[in-house]
């Protein structure tokens, strides 16, 4: 460590730096001075929107090494003007939650534990279940002969946290398949 010079005396430091009361740069340690915010070292910043309530606050997502390292309010947004509430401020932890699941899990009928399954197999099994149920529960017409053209055997719940494009594909696919019990939080 370099010898301390006279000019680094605390009182002089305070006056030289303009931090007269010694509550700012005059009293930071070399360690603190060496710290850089994650937002400054991020590889890139991506503009996004908060996923919680429907106010639609702007977010800036900071990415380093293909990991999200911080999410902050977007000052450009005329809706939120850079602000986020506790949930929006915590949304980095939504992405990196300690309990977050990264693998597909499968519970067979009457099973007591989860099993692992690769995603490809899982989607194939779901497609099979969907078609079997649809076949079994198909309704062509009602009692008076009016067309129904549907299945009463497949239902879906969710969508208020999904994108418009996702909801569009869900509605399109299920409607074409004849599934009508498609619902989401908007009715709850």
């Amino acid at each position: 460590m370099a010898r301390r010079s006279f000019l680094q005396w605390p009182v002089l430091r305070q006056f030289r730096s303009g931090d007269v009361l010694g509550r700012g740069p005059a009293v930071t340690s070399p360690h603190t001075r060496a710290l850089e915010p994650r937002t400054a070292t991020a590889d890139r910043v991506v503009q996004s929107i908060c996923p919680y309530c429907a106010v639609g606050c702007g977010q800036k997502v900071y990415v380093s090494g293909e990991k999200v390292v911080q999410i902050e309010g977007d000052a450009d947004s005329p809706i939120s003007r850079g602000r986020l509430c506790p949930k929006g401020s915590a949304s980095e932890q939504l992405v990196n939650a300690p309990g977050r699941q990264y693998q597909v899990r499968y519970r067979p009928p009457h099973g007591t534990q989860w099993q692992s399954l690769d995603r490809d197999t899982a989607i194939d099994m779901i497609a099979d279940r969907f078609l079997e149920t649809r076949r079994r529960t198909w309704q062509d017409t009602d009692e008076s002969g009016s067309p129904l053209r549907r299945t009463w055997g497949v239902a879906s719940l969710g969508g208020a946290t999904l994108d418009n494009e996702e909801n569009y594909l869900i509605k399109k696919l299920f409607t074409a398949a004849g599934a009508v019990q498609i619902e989401n939080q908007a009715r709850i």
Binding site: D163, Q181, I182, R187
Partner: protein, 909 residues
């Protein structure tokens, strides 16, 4: 909201549930606006409001109805606005009878089915009788309710056969909407408010004075509400009451006016516009109903008549464009654009009907997509038991939420009602992508679409719902490729060919482009549509959601616009894109007077530029841009061409704001106060206790507490209501797994007043058990003066507040606790099929709840003591001796042809 002079927040807690949006309320307040919070609890919204008015949960229609009465009786309404822009002067069918005539019922109620025949509510037809909905006599209320038709009006009013109405501009004819309204609310007085809401005459006076003083040419008042209004057996009518008041005061279509729906999920507005809802197709086109919409012609005629006014008359163009988007070249004029490919409804298919169908083993498979019904659905036990009947369940979420693990660690495993080994449900858990791991658009609460750019790829096996459903569709189509079964044609003919990225996933912007639509023929073939007015019914255009047309105008993703601050215009229109047509304030023609001049300089927004011959101003005019203020086009033109220069409500079939709803609602043309399904308070306004047309589920697993006057009402003597905290999100799936948020709000609690704490021996930070006829849960006690005991009908009513974010089970949740929704019963608003979860009856006792079988025993013991049965609260007409006693006056004409003459009550009124 920042432009408002008075803001009434009622049925919500904006400062805690929409904290960042609340800055605009603060901004308005800083500019001098009065802020009033009406809510059962004193919250942080109340803390910064000018005034908090505590109210009994579920009594809002009494309060707002009394303000309407105050406004009419004291001649405080905005005469010029009301006469020109609302249906105040319109005459109603002479056969209409009000709740004042029929002791709490409107004409047309059928006690057998529990539904209204709404034909007598219609506008008077100059040629006699009422103006029907197109395609014949009005659809029976039963059927409208079954397909939740009320919700289909998310983008404008219901259809009318034509718009040639009779008007009395003097407003003196007793058949005018104005006179009917006046009579309907005459008994909604400050005294009644005191009796039923627990609000003093002084507080009522403060509210009434604030909203009337801050309305008119120079000032505007704004209302904000949330689920405190929607989650009732007549929730849609709560909002209607505010709408009537706002129209009377001239606060619609103007800056600082309106009624703000403070919605609770990032894209809950979007998921209604592009509906993952049973009763709708994109853009509020209804799902077709068997028997009523058997042909395409029947369907489009019922959605919008060519003879009515406004843009719904072009429903055929919107419907054909949707069918072309889905079935491409296969959709032709000859096959009615593949209309027969659409499945049909023949009854409601909402969440709670699905639950019952699961219990009956009719539903085999269930997709749960970013939602947590095991915690978030009313009557949680019923929801979990229903899932145990499934053959297969797919849960797509970030974390192992309770809805994925109930078979392992749910409350019914603990109580012994279910054994893991006995449950035959096959469960797939698929990890989802977070909002930063996919690109796409959310539609926020003011109809603004905002695009999220993708920051990183989803990790591990995580996948977006877009990619999952695209892939599932591909697999299903591949497995059916050789099928010649006609029922598989809609899947095989579906347009499912989106441009793919390197990983084989669809480009989300290409889906947005399909939603926007494009020209299919002519010079512009292949080019994106720029406005829904370009859509045609001849198959020359396609578009997946007509109200979103324009979001991809010029091939540019308008939802991704991010000019800092939204640019220089007061409407900040260069940030995102608002449907429809990028209009930021709807019905903004009403911001100018009938001559086209701003009502005042202070509130100018859109006005008529006579020289240029068009509407100009700070926003996209929500009106035919060159229609002069005093234009009187031939009404026979129909559609947009028939709108007169003073018809600002361009999506309404008559161009006017509806003080009275002649069509569209199934439980009454005017909001009327009824008590919640279970209530310790008697309805002092009418002998009818509950809303007669509510949707009931009288089942052993959904019992209700006795209401006022019934045996056992004292067994569940308290009112409970549910709410959110700032630090958690709905059923906790996106918050209870996060360390910071869990630390900030670690535990389930109940909020009680010091008086109730003393009455029941509850200690702050101690435990309490709350018992309803459905369940018993435990919570930490928060004794707080924020809960005010109210004096109702001379008796003290205590209310208990319960946040609903916690649940039992789930893997790796940082915090867990009992679920408030387990206490809730399921009874629904017939317009929307939304459950009543803002007011219920319960008891509260100190100490923790019992475990295992003893918990079930406790719930049973209460049920027995109160003698509740499936009939409790499930009687439609609560006082038959006093109701339905008025025969029509002898001078009345006979019922119009088409009235349900074979129904026992049809011929009587």
């Amino acid at each position: 909201m920042a432009n408002a002079d008075c803001i009434v927040l009622q049925g919500g807690n904006m400062a805690e549930c929409h904290p960042v949006g609340f800055q605009w309320v603060s901004e308005a307040k800083a500019r001098g606006a009065v802020v009033i919070h009406v809510d059962p609890r004193f919250t942080r919204t109340s803390a910064v409001a000018d005034k908090h008015i505590p109210i009994r949960a579920g009594s809002d229609v009494v309060l707002l109805g009394a303000v309407i009465n105050h406004v009419i009786s004291n001649d405080l309404w905005f005469r010029e606005y009301v006469l020109a822009y609302t249906n105040a002067a319109t005459l109603v069918n002479p056969d209409f009878r009000d709740t004042e005539d029929l002791h709490g019922l409107f004409s047309g109620f059928d006690p057998e089915t529990g539904h209204y025949d709404t034909s007598t509510w219609a506008y008077a037809d100059p040629e006699g009788g009422g103006i029907d909905r197109p395609g014949g006599p009005d659809e029976h209320g039963a059927e409208q309710s079954d397909r939740a038709a009320g919700e289909a009006h998310g983008s404008g009013g219901p259809s009318l056969e034509h718009a040639k109405v009779e008007r009395d501009e003097t407003l003196t004819d007793p058949r005018t909407v104005f006179q009917i309204l006046k009579k309907h609310y005459a008994r909604y007085t400050p005294e009644m408010v005191e009796q039923l809401c627990g609000i003093s005459a002084e507080d009522f006076g403060y509210l009434a004075d604030a909203v009337t003083r801050n309305s008119g040419r120079d000032r505007t008042t704004c209302f904000g509400y949330a689920t405190g209004w929607t989650q009732h057996t007549f929730g849609a009518q709560f909002i209607r009451t505010a709408a009537i008041l706002q129209l009377l005061l001239g606060n619609v279509g103007r800056p600082g006016g309106g009624i703000m729906a403070l919605r609770g999920h990032a894209s809950i507005q979007g998921s209604t516009d592009i509906p993952t809802l049973f009763n709708l197709l994109p853009g509020y086109l209804p799902m077709p109903s068997a028997g009523r919409h058997d042909t395409f012609t029947d369907y489009v005629n019922s959605v919008g008549s060519k003879k009515q006014k406004g843009y719904w008359a072009d429903a055929d163009a919107y419907a054909v464009s949707l069918l072309k988007a889905w079935w491409g070249d296969k959709a032709t004029a000859e096959n009615d654009w593949c209309f027969d490919y659409l499945p049909r409804l023949n009854g409601p298919a909402g969440t709670y009907q699905t639950t019952v169908s699961m219990l009956a083993d009719e539903v085999e498979g269930y997709f749960v997509l970013g939602q947590n019904p095991a915690v978030g659905s009313a009557n949680g036990r019923q929801a979990r038991m229903a899932m145990s009947h499934l053959k297969w369940l797919v849960v797509r979420d970030l974390n192992l939420i309770e809805s994925a693990t109930w078979w392992q660690d749910g409350p019914e495993i603990e109580s012994g009602e279910l054994r893991t080994e006995d449950i035959g449900t096959e469960v797939f858990f698929l990890p989802a992508a977070t909002h930063v791991e996919k690109a796409g658009s959310f539609t926020q609460t003011q109809r603004l679409l905002q695009w999220r750019h993708k920051a990183i790829d989803p990790p591990g096996q995580c996948q977006s719902d877009l990619d999952f459903f695209f892939e599932l569709g591909q697999r299903i189509r591949a497995k059916l490729a050789d099928s010649d079964d006609p029922r598989d044609r809609p899947l095989l003919d579906l347009t499912w060919d989106y441009p793919l990225d390197d990983d084989g996933n669809p480009d989300p912007e290409s889906v947005l482009a399909e939603i926007n639509g494009r020209h299919l023929t002519g010079d512009k073939a292949g080019q994106p549509l720029s406005a829904y007015t370009e859509m045609r019914a001849d198959g020359s255009t396609e578009g997946g959601c007509w109200i979103y047309t324009g979001v991809y105008a010029d091939g540019i993703n308008q939802a991704a616009r991010r000019v800092p601050g939204g640019g220089p215009s007061p409407s900040q229109s260069e940030w995102g894109w608002a449907w429809p047509a990028d209009r930021r304030i709807l019905y903004n023609r009403a911001s100018a007077d009938p001559d086209g001049k701003p009502w005042s300089k202070r509130k100018s927004y859109i006005w008529w530029d006579a020289e240029a011959g068009k509407w100009v101003g700070d926003d996209v005019p929500d009106f035919p841009v060159d229609r002069a203020p005093h234009s009187m086009p031939d009404p026979d033109l129909g559609g947009p061409a028939a709108l007169t220069g003073d018809d600002p409500f361009i999506m309404q079939a008559d161009g006017k704001g509806w003080l009275y709803a002649p069509s569209g609602l199934v439980d009454g043309p005017l909001p009327t106060h009824y008590e919640p399904q279970e209530s310790p308070v008697a309805n002092s306004l009418y002998p009818q206790q509950q809303s007669p047309a509510r949707v009931m589920f009288p089942r052993e697993d959904n019992l209700d507490a006795p209401s006022a006057g019934d045996f056992g009402v004292d067994v569940y003597p308290y009112v409970f209501t549910t709410y959110r905290l700032t630090e958690h999100h709905t059923a906790g799936g996106m918050s209870r797994w996060l360390p910071y948020l869990s630390e900030l709000q670690p535990q389930m609690f109940c909020e009680v007043s010091p008086q109730l704490a003393a009455e029941r021996g509850l200690v702050n930070d101690g435990w309490a058990t709350i018992i309803s006829p459905r369940a018993a849960i435990e919570a930490k006690v928060l004794v707080s003066e924020r809960m005010t005991p109210l004096s109702i009908n001379g008796r003290t009513v205590h209310q208990i507040g319960l946040p609903y974010h916690w649940g039992v089970g789930g893997t790796d949740a940082i915090v867990s606790g009992d679920a408030a929704n387990d206490l809730m019963g399921v009874t629904l608003d017939p317009n929307t099929q939304i459950q009543e979860s803002k007011a219920g009856s319960c008891d509260i006792q100190p100490g923790r709840r019992p475990r295992g079988e003893a918990l079930l025993e406790l719930v049973r013991e209460y049920q027995q003591r109160a003698r509740v049965t499936v009939e409790t609260d499930n009687i439609r007409i609560t006082d038959p001796a006093r109701e339905i006693i008025d025969p029509p006056p002898a001078s009345d004409p006979p019922p119009p042809p088409g009235a349900d003459g074979d129904e026992p009550w049809g011929s009587r009124w």
